[in-house]
């Protein structure tokens, strides 16, 4: 069966290379049949990659340990769902998933836009072919998932931290996001190569970008929840290089989603948008380089190998290609109009973009710093949490404020008087909220208080915008149905506010206590009384061993809580299994970690009470809801676009 997988990958490589070379020649020489043939090669590339993926999935499910990959990442005791998730648990499998998603997305995007962009698609095909060529080459020549061996009796098993339900969704979602950013990049490059830089490539990729951005954002939140429940240190985001690797393209894509609206409305920022699209794509590939190269220390670096160099070379070449292309086409990217006022919607978008990109670049510098210091000084130094927290506050809080002000400013220009009048209610709401928070003792943390006050302000502005819009149109449903992007965007803004409140609440106002308890002893934390009852051993589970401490909880909540330490079959390290009780009424978590002592009945407990942390997870669902509203097809818009872009010579 491995032969079929290998053959399918070789075919994929050949087809991708053909799409690159023949597609480039066909587009350059204007040869219709050659361009169509290259497009077919891209479609067929998806088919053959699908075959290769099916072979690997089958081998994983059948525990076929003659595949080195299967033996390295699964064993016989691994539950079936985790055996399947081992597809992306290792390097070769995750690269295959990347290629599968890339060719699938690419085929769909090319077919869906064959009419709208009939003159640009011939150039999009070789760009997608080029990206697919790189990934299929790495899979064929450097990191094949189809290497075989004499089958051992059992496999090594899956990394314990990946044996979590979140890991079945988190990596694929991130890949859907990372790879999804290839589509706007390919279309932008296609538009530049063809010299047709009109609005169509933006229209064609609008939903692709939004979908990729949604996957990336939701995938990160799932990852944060995984870290919170699985890693067992009481937090959810550690500014780990690989976490940052997902954050950076998301920030660049967020900037693009905002700035592209200025291009659509005013024909401005064309160069900037091209740069952002390229930046988002390059950062997504760079993220894979970080994950796989081992150049930085990360809790996520499950598989370090020699493919890092290949990825670095690809990032460098594709960045130079993008830069050269943008410079070559600068005359086509001239702005049609100028910024009319510093107090206008477009100016607000510009400020938002500057802050987002500044935050993205600061994170990038933090990620690169260990590599740079290693190269320059010969010793690797890392940027700690204070560095990232400082810049998150420095750029994040103004961004939060701008998120409230921006939608209330008119396009072109607004007078200060109009703005003050429009902002009166939100300012009043935030002042009342701030005063109330100080009254209840939330003034102990200035960043927390500022975040809460700004959040109240943003929620106030969203409410004002919805109320005024409803009054103007006469119906809320009509207002949203006819302006899905705008109001979907406001729902996403509300999600960001929830996120900000959750982050501020759980970091600025949390309570932590560490205490050693013997059976029968009690610890009290923030109104909870925890009595350590006993320790239970895990029994009859072939996949893991370990023990759980059972605690009786009184005070604010009554019940029992289990928290333990687990060792998975075939692995030495111990994993925390955190005890969490969510109080939805107060929106806070009681979070308990147990550290068992050998030759002692005493257990060291770390007990945390984290207010509002659950708003972070709620924000994830609100974020998806807002994205779905914005993504939902609008038949009226489709008709309008179809009419606008109908073939002129039809």
């Amino acid at each position: 069966m491995a032969d079929l997988g290998r053959a399918a990958l070789v075919v994929s490589f050949g087809l991708a290379l053909y799409a690159l070379v023949a597609g480039g020649l066909g587009a350059y020489a204007g040869r219709r049949r050659l361009a169509t043939s290259a497009r077919n090669a891209l479609l067929a590339c998806f088919g053959s990659t699908l075959v290769a993926s099916a072979v690997l999935a089958t081998a994983l499910l059948r525990h076929d340990f003659s595949f080195v990959y299967v033996a390295s990442h699964t064993n016989r005791t691994l539950p079936t769902a985790y055996a399947l998730s081992a597809f992306w648990g290792g390097q070769e499998g995750s690269l295959l998933l990347w290629l599968l998603v890339l060719t699938g997305y690419g085929a769909l995007a090319v077919v869906a836009n064959r009419r709208l962009l009939r003159d640009v698609i011939p150039w999009v095909v070789p760009v997608l072919g080029g990206i697919a060529t790189f990934f299929s080459f790495v899979l064929v020549a450097v990191a094949s998932p189809f290497q075989t061996q004499t089958a051992p009796v059992d496999g090594a098993g899956l990394t314990p931290s990946l044996q979590n339900p979140y890991m079945m969704a988190h990596p694929p979602l991130l890949y859907l996001g990372y790879v999804g950013l290839s589509i706007p990049f390919a279309f932008a490059a296609g538009a530049l190569l063809s010299g047709r830089t009109d609005e169509r490539w933006i229209v064609a990729t609008r939903r692709w970008t939004l979908a990729a951005w949604t996957f990336l954002g939701f995938g990160q939140l799932l990852g944060a929840h995984w870290a919170y429940t699985e890693v067992g240190w009481g937090g959810y985001y550690a500014w780990d290089p690989v976490e940052n690797a997902a954050l950076m393209p998301w920030l660049a894509a967020t900037a693009f989603l905002h700035s592209v609206m200025i291009q659509e409305r005013k024909g401005m920022l064309k160069v900037w948008n091209m740069v952002l699209v390229a930046l988002a794509f390059e950062l997504s590939v760079f993220g894979t380089f970080l994950t796989r190269s081992g150049v930085v220390n990360s809790i996520h670096s499950f598989a370090k190998s020699s493919i890092g160099g290949w990825f670095l070379a690809f990032v460098v070449i594709s960045s130079l290609f993008s830069l050269a292309l943008i410079l070559r086409r600068l005359p086509l990217l001239k702005a049609r109009t100028k910024l009319e006022s510093a107090l206008s919607r477009e100016a607000a978008f510009l400020y938002n973009n500057l802050l987002l990109v500044a935050l993205c670049l600061t994170v990038l510098w933090g990620v690169l710093f260990p590599i740079v210091t290693q190269l320059v000084k010969g010793e690797s130094r890392t940027m700690g949490r204070p560095y990232y927290d400082f810049f998150l506050r420095a750029f994040g809080l103004p961004l939060l404020l701008l998120m409230g002000i921006g939608p209330l400013i008119a396009w072109r220009k607004t007078s200060v008087r109009s703005l003050v009048r429009t902002l009166a209610w939100p300012i009043a709401a935030s002042a009342v909220a701030g005063a109330a928070l100080v009254a209840v003792g939330a003034g102990s943390s200035s960043p927390g208080l500022i975040a809460y006050t700004f959040s109240a302000f943003v929620l106030g502005t969203i409410a004002v915008e919805v109320v005024k819009g409803t009054r103007a149109t006469g119906s809320l449903a009509l207002l949203i149905a006819r302006n899905r992007r705008r109001y979907g965007g406001y729902i996403v803004h509300a999600a960001v506010v929830l996120l900000a409140i959750g982050i501020a609440g759980s970091s600025a106002y949390s309570t932590t206590r560490e205490q050693k308890l013997l059976p029968g002893q009690t610890a009290s934390v923030a109104g909870y009384h925890l009595t350590y009852l006993r320790t239970d051993e895990i029994q009859n589970d072939p996949n893991r061993t370990g023990q759980y401490a059972v605690l009786r909880v009184g005070g604010r909540w009554h019940g029992t809580l289990r928290t333990g330490q687990v060792t998975y079959t075939g692995f030495q390290e111990t994993d925390e299994d955190v005890g969490i009780k969510t109080d939805w009424l107060r929106a806070q978590d009681l979070y308990v970690i147990a550290n068992f002592q050998q030759s002692s009945q005493a257990v060291y407990f770390k007990i945390l009470v984290k207010p509002l942390v659950n708003l972070i997870w709620v924000a994830g669902f609100v974020f998806v809801l807002g994205s779905l509203v914005a993504l939902w097809p609008d038949a009226r818009e489709q008709r309008r676009l179809a009419a606008r872009f109908a073939p002129a010579h039809a």
């Binding site: 204007g30 219709r32 049949r33 067929a44 072109r412 009419a643 002129a648």
Partner: protein
């Protein structure tokens, strides 16, 4: 062996799919890519200009109705926007006369325009001249229609 044969079948199927355009048309009379002419590209630009100008007018109207923009600013911005829209429409008409039917002729006829309700907060709109449909907001709303735009700006 079976897997190797299956691999070979996969490769053969891929080759056939790639060669399909040449197998279907071994001697194509016209093998040129379907690219728009310079006139069509210009037409597309003009249509974009027109839509952008009309959308800006509708956005201005909506911002005014929702109180984001003062009467004075509204009046100040309305004239250049109307002139821009009129210019875009004139350019399209000229293009239509020069090159014949184009994309603008393929657009559906606009539905009858409901009379816009008076703005909720601002009192009577500052100009009675017909303006584009004030709602929904222009970014995703109805197909932009060609308003009765006066040549020399609004009659204030």
């Amino acid at each position: 062996m079976t897997w190797v044969i299956l691999g070979a079948v996969l490769a053969a199927a891929a080759v056939v799919l790639v060669a399909l355009p040449f197998l279907r048309e071994p001697h194509a009379d016209d093998d040129r890519l379907d690219a728009p002419t310079a006139g069509e590209a210009r037409l597309r630009e003009l249509v974009e200009e027109r839509d952008r100008a009309l959308a800006a007018l509708k956005e201005l109207e909506f911002d005014h109705r929702t109180g984001k923009i003062a009467d004075e600013d509204y009046r100040q911005l309305l004239t250049p926007l109307r002139q821009a829209a009129a210019g875009a429409l004139r350019a399209l008409d000229a293009d239509r006369a020069r090159y014949g039917p184009g994309v603008h002729d393929l657009e559906p006829e606009p539905a009858p325009v409901p009379e816009p309700a008076p703005p909720p907060d601002e009192g009577t709109p500052p100009t009675p001249a017909p303006v584009p449909e004030p709602y929904p907001p222009p970014d995703e709303g109805t197909p932009p229609r060609e308003p009765l735009v006066p040549e020399q700006g609004p009659q204030e």
